[in-house]
Symmetry: none
Subunit: 290 residues, 2 copies
DNA sequence: AAAACCGTGCAACAAATGTTTCATGCCCGA
DNA sequence: TCGGGCATGAAACATTTGTTGCACGGTTTT
């Protein structure tokens, strides 16, 4: 059995948690959720807040391999110590292959993507959102890796506009939906290099039908941007690695949804609350622990 | 005389310092310089390290207006509490309606999300990627808005590992897949508050089966992180707006895929090339214009 | 120069802490 | 149905904690 990385006491706790008796799971969860108080306040205090027996904390510590609560707390305290300001920031740009090469790759990727986000222009997003707000119906298309962006947009828009949003190509072949485009409706197409034929066809159909075309793409010269009323640009190739980056597209999609929601005013808010209430009634979500 | 801002116990200490007896000054400086230890370790411990008398700490606390060391330490503890999650979010959230309100919303959102990305830890991602690399089979689960992340991950991993990656719940009810988990396989679960029951069930099933569990979540105390071998954290609530941010999760997913690909070496590269060749042969993509 | 004062270390104190033990209740297997 | 083992809460335990009283040494005041 491979030892699962003793890195942090919190992760040891997390890993051992499911195999613990019920009461110890409760206090374990409490410790994980309130680790700051765990390091600063006394065992009895914590027990009172958690509504558990003080002894449970000692037992928990022993159950995950410590000699007692004192030792567990000491480990948590050291783990939280702010001295190592940069915990392990592979800031060492050591690009030579080795155990840190992977970490450097991730760090570079994240940095590059973070740098790309502020370069997205807000103005077109706000304008596109207004178009969405006024659209009688919203179609969304995205293929291959862009499908995830399309589905996210579809999901979020539907939270407060249940009846007027539709993902293209889910309830039949694309062509069925393509023929349904009408003036006054909006079509969102997401894509980047290399562009799929399917997405270009959607864009063309939208343009010919007179619907408002919104393209989320990596270039103004992308095929689906031709004839588009709104083009929202992101940087797909900005990050190292072999796959184009989608964080920009996701950020645009979420901003688009947020502004559209804001434009919806109280009506949208009411619909969202209604949707949430319905989900809660179906007990979709795990209740927050008090 | 204007009260010199009782804001922080540390500043009270600093202000009162010069008018204190020499020994208390030493102790006071020690506390100011080691305030983390001051909140976590015992008075006697501190005295030993500082080379001072334990009583000096009590006297110091009383000298600057507290009833005793306990009260001073409590104040220091509260001052250090990380509850104020966004230390820089002093951003005047004016948000008064106006023609530029939408644009400001988008700009804020993008800035916040860009700020959140560098806070993602690279180390756990690299470790999780290694686990993926060694897994005989990879399962992926994500519900509601997290489904988009799951699908992206599924898509990218399949580009170079076609036969061993599977999205949970697409070819039948979840339970069918849940029963198929085996030791030596990896299960990725993506989720954030509010957590869906379905995702928690997947995580539990993975843990019980002995499979390697990788959780992509917004908190170490997320239910699906319990028992997880790897927890990859992102900030879902970092950005303004009504929907939690998914850019962090997407960035993690893509980094995970990138590192896993890198670990795959030439074999993975070959498979990717093969996949791309097949797609090109089916003329999925629009040819680049010369 | 003597006395009053303050700063300081030491040691004893009571309170609180973490730990252990024990009795109880529960569940599972025989 | 009856044991055996385990989880759990309450109470007793030894230890450690923060505090306070006291004595000593130095400085200032009268």
């Amino acid at each position: 059995m491979p030892e699962p990385a003793k890195s942090s006491p919190l992760s040891e706790l997390r890993i051992a948690l499911p195999s613990l008796p019920m009461r110890l799971q409760e206090v374990g969860r409490f410790v994980a959720a309130n680790d700051y108080d765990a390091t600063t306040r006394s065992m009895r205090d914590l027990a009172a807040v958690a509504g558990a027996d003080p002894a449970a904390f000692t037992r928990l510590a022993k159950a995950i391999g410590y000699s007692g609560w004192d030792e567990l707390r000491a480990a948590l305290t050291e783990a939280r110590r702010p001295s190592q300001i940069a915990p392990f920031s592979g800031r060492t740009r050591s690009r030579r292959p080795g155990p840190n090469a992977d970490i450097a790759l991730v760090t570079d990727k994240l940095e590059a993507e973070a740098a790309g986000l502020p370069r997205i222009s807000a103005q077109p997003i706000a304008e596109a959102a207004r178009a969405l707000h006024e659209a009688k119906r919203i179609w969304i298309a995205g293929y291959r890796s862009c499908r995830s962006v399309a589905e996210l947009l579809n999901y979020e828009l539907r939270l407060f506009r249940p009846e007027h949003v539709q993902l293209i190509g889910v309830s039949g072949p694309d062509d069925l939906d393509l023929g349904a485009f009408r003036r006054g409706e909006a079509v969102i197409v997401i894509g980047f290099l290399p562009y799929t034929h399917a997405s270009v066809r959607v864009a063309q159909a939208a343009h010919h039908s007179g619907a408002t075309l919104i393209a989320i793409a990596d270039s103004v010269s992308a095929p689906m941007a031709e004839g588009a009323d709104h083009v929202l640009l992101f940087e797909a190739a900005s990050s190292p690695g072999f796959f184009p980056s989608l964080t920009g597209a996701i950020a645009i999609a979420q901003s688009l949804a947020a502004v559209t929601f804001a434009l919806g005013g109280v009506a949208a808010k009411k619909r969202l609350e209604h949707t949430e209430a319905r989900l809660a009634a179906a007990s979709t979500y795990v209740l927050e622990k008090g």
